[in-house]
């Protein structure tokens, strides 16, 4: 088919092909070696009992059977769901509240916005350290404040019942800025004519919000819910710094369980199976959320 091309044109086509492949090679090589290839290797590893150093034993689906019957695995999934159900609605509600307040033509918006955003860019380890001190049941700031206003105090990170709520509190504080920015961007795109029309029709501010603003920003809400749920399943750093999964596994989420099994216990085959389980859960959740929220989402 190249017969019709002039020699100059053919030269150009060859050049284009060479340039195209050369320019994309560095990126695709890195992505191939460190993302594609691992996705296949992890499936292979999950079929073996291996510590990566000594000998490996082929166990077939044994690791998956072990995972699906393991109380520790399902416990970690339940705790991750606990964390998600506890943190995502709060994050959505509070960040939306902040975004709505900042959207009301306030002065110094850039300044306020920066304050709400800054925890999100600060490292998890450094901020976990100060929260560790704030959460201290004996001399921490949180209990001192609760005592001051006459509310009951808690053992926070040192008690199996309150460790997860404390983890939720810290993580919500750290991550909320991202959702604030998303919601501020979404709110600024709601057409003012719509809001004015609702007001002229005599709708109260509350009704206008639920019947106009909320449906208009639903794609962003959906986006925030998905991103925060997925990041809950990957959560690792704050668990490692604040509790190391304790007390008595009460904060061992699936992301941390995976790390413990691999790099603590050296059960790399089993941990690979858990990796795949984690992938499956994230995938399912994304599909489920799409189905549940799909009908109510307004794509404007």
């Amino acid at each position: 088919m190249d017969n019709k091309l002039t020699p100059a044109r053919r030269k150009q086509v060859i050049r284009d092909n060479v340039a195209g492949w050369l320019f994309t090679l560095p990126s695709t090589l890195v992505l191939f070696v460190f993302t594609f290839l691992p996705a296949f290797i992890v499936v292979g590893l999950s079929l073996f009992d291996t510590n990566l150093v000594g000998q490996s034993i082929f166990v077939g689906p044994g690791n998956f059977r072990q995972m699906l019957t393991s109380g520790d695995f399902w416990g970690s999934v339940l705790r991750t769901l606990y964390f998600t159900v506890g943190s995502v609605p709060i994050a959505v509600a509070v960040s939306l509240l902040i975004a709505v307040l900042l959207n009301a033509k306030v002065r110094g918006r850039t300044f306020w916005r920066m304050g709400f955003f800054i925890p999100y860019i600060t490292p998890l380890v450094a901020t976990s350290i100060i929260w560790l001190y704030i959460f201290n049941p004996d001399y921490g700031m949180l209990n001192a404040t609760l005592r001051f206003v006459g509310l009951p105090v808690s053992r926070w990170l040192t008690d199996t019942a309150s460790a997860m709520p404390a983890m939720i509190l810290y993580s919500t504080w750290h991550d909320i800025g991202f959702a604030v920015i998303i919601f501020m961007a979404a709110l600024s795109k709601v057409p003012t004519e719509l809001l004015e029309a609702a007001q002229i029709d005599g709708a109260s501010g509350w009704r206008t919000f639920w019947h106009v603003t909320w449906p208009m920003i639903s794609p962003s809400t959906y986006f925030v819910v998905i991103i925060y749920t997925i990041s809950a399943f990957k959560m690792f750093t704050q668990v490692a710094v604040l509790t190391q999964g304790g007390p008595v596994d009460s904060t061992t989420t699936t992301g941390y369980y995976l790390y413990q099994q691999a790099f603590g216990q050296m059960h790399f085959g089993y941990a690979s199976a858990v990796s795949i389980g984690l992938f499956a859960i994230i995938f399912l959740l994304t599909m489920l959320q799409r189905k549940v929220t799909g009908r109510k989402v307004f794509y404007g």
């Binding site: 284009d16 990126s27 304050g115 560790l132």
Partner: protein
């Protein structure tokens, strides 16, 4: 008249309540940073006071000196800066080249390759950690800086963003450049790249922040003390210092400050990058 006066009155009340609500939430969110700084200035015995002191009565910089002298922080800063800058620069080069090819060059298999690159985003990093540990060891990169740089030398986000920039450039620009005798690489360097500057800044900030705050990856891929990155070192420092909160707070402050300073310079760009990208979801 009265109703109008009343409505002005209620408007004012609403404004005051609005600012009070914002300020209240703001104080709650910013307080831990205030507390980090106050704690870092307290003498060690004062951190156990009940109730805590809101303002350090005997402020001292000694904690900073003690914390700084207890670990080779300069080395950790150097490592982190080196890794972050290297990963950022390399990923900028690789993603802008790839994005340019995907946007402006016709080559065989382009669509397939681009879809493959995009599909990488479906694979979460948590799933690939273990096989990557194996790959890094097989390559002989365990406990080497390569392990912290090369895997981050490509960015799907970067390719995607820059491709959109390059695609939105008018075709006449490239045609005019060809008439002037410019080669493809020259057009890329002197015309396309400068026009994509906002995207490049966004990608650079993301990549730099990613390296600076990374924790799990360097924990798994390195071992020796002289290869440590700053956050891993800070966690080790926590293990070592236990409840010496004033020194821990001081170390938290000086390891976080570079990030905060960087953020002040680029905050508009960074925040707009998120706001713009997010609403597409």
């Amino acid at each position: 008249m009265t109703t109008m006066r009343q409505s002005i009155f209620w408007n004012r009340v609403t404004r005051v309540l609005l600012y009070l609500a914002i300020a209240g939430l703001f104080i709650l969110v910013v307080f831990p940073f205030y507390w980090m700084i106050v704690t870092s200035l307290q003498p060690q015995d004062a951190v156990f006071n009940v109730p805590p002191q809101f303002w350090p009565r005997h402020a001292t910089f000694q904690n900073y000196i003690d914390a700084w002298n207890s670990a080779p922080w300069l080395r950790y800063f150097g490592n982190t800066l080196f890794v972050a800058v290297a990963a950022t620069l390399i990923s900028l080069v690789t993603s802008s080249l790839a994005a340019f090819a995907f946007a402006c060059i016709d080559f065989r298999g382009k669509e397939v390759l681009f879809n493959l690159v995009l599909s990488v985003m479906m694979i979460p990093a948590a799933t690939t950690l273990i096989p990557n540990f194996l790959i890094i060891r097989t390559l002989g990169w365990y406990d080497k800086f390569y392990a912290l740089i090369i895997p981050f030398a490509a960015s799907v986000f970067g390719i995607f963003l820059l491709r959109q920039y390059f695609m939105s450039m008018p075709k006449e620009l490239w045609e005019a450049a060809q008439i002037d005798g410019a080669s493809r690489l020259r057009y890329f360097r002197s015309i396309a790249l400068p026009l994509a500057k906002p995207a490049i800044v966004t990608i650079a900030i993301n990549s730099f922040l990613g390296s600076w705050t990374s924790f799990l990856w360097p924990t798994v891929m390195t071992q020796s003390q002289n290869k440590q990155l700053i956050e891993v070192a800070l966690n080790a420092f926590l293990g070592e210092k236990g409840q010496q909160w004033s020194q821990l707070a001081a170390a938290s402050v000086f390891t976080t400050i570079p990030i905060v300073i960087l953020f002040f310079f680029v905050q508009r760009q960074f925040i707009e990058g998120i706001g713009g990208g997010g609403i597409k979801g």
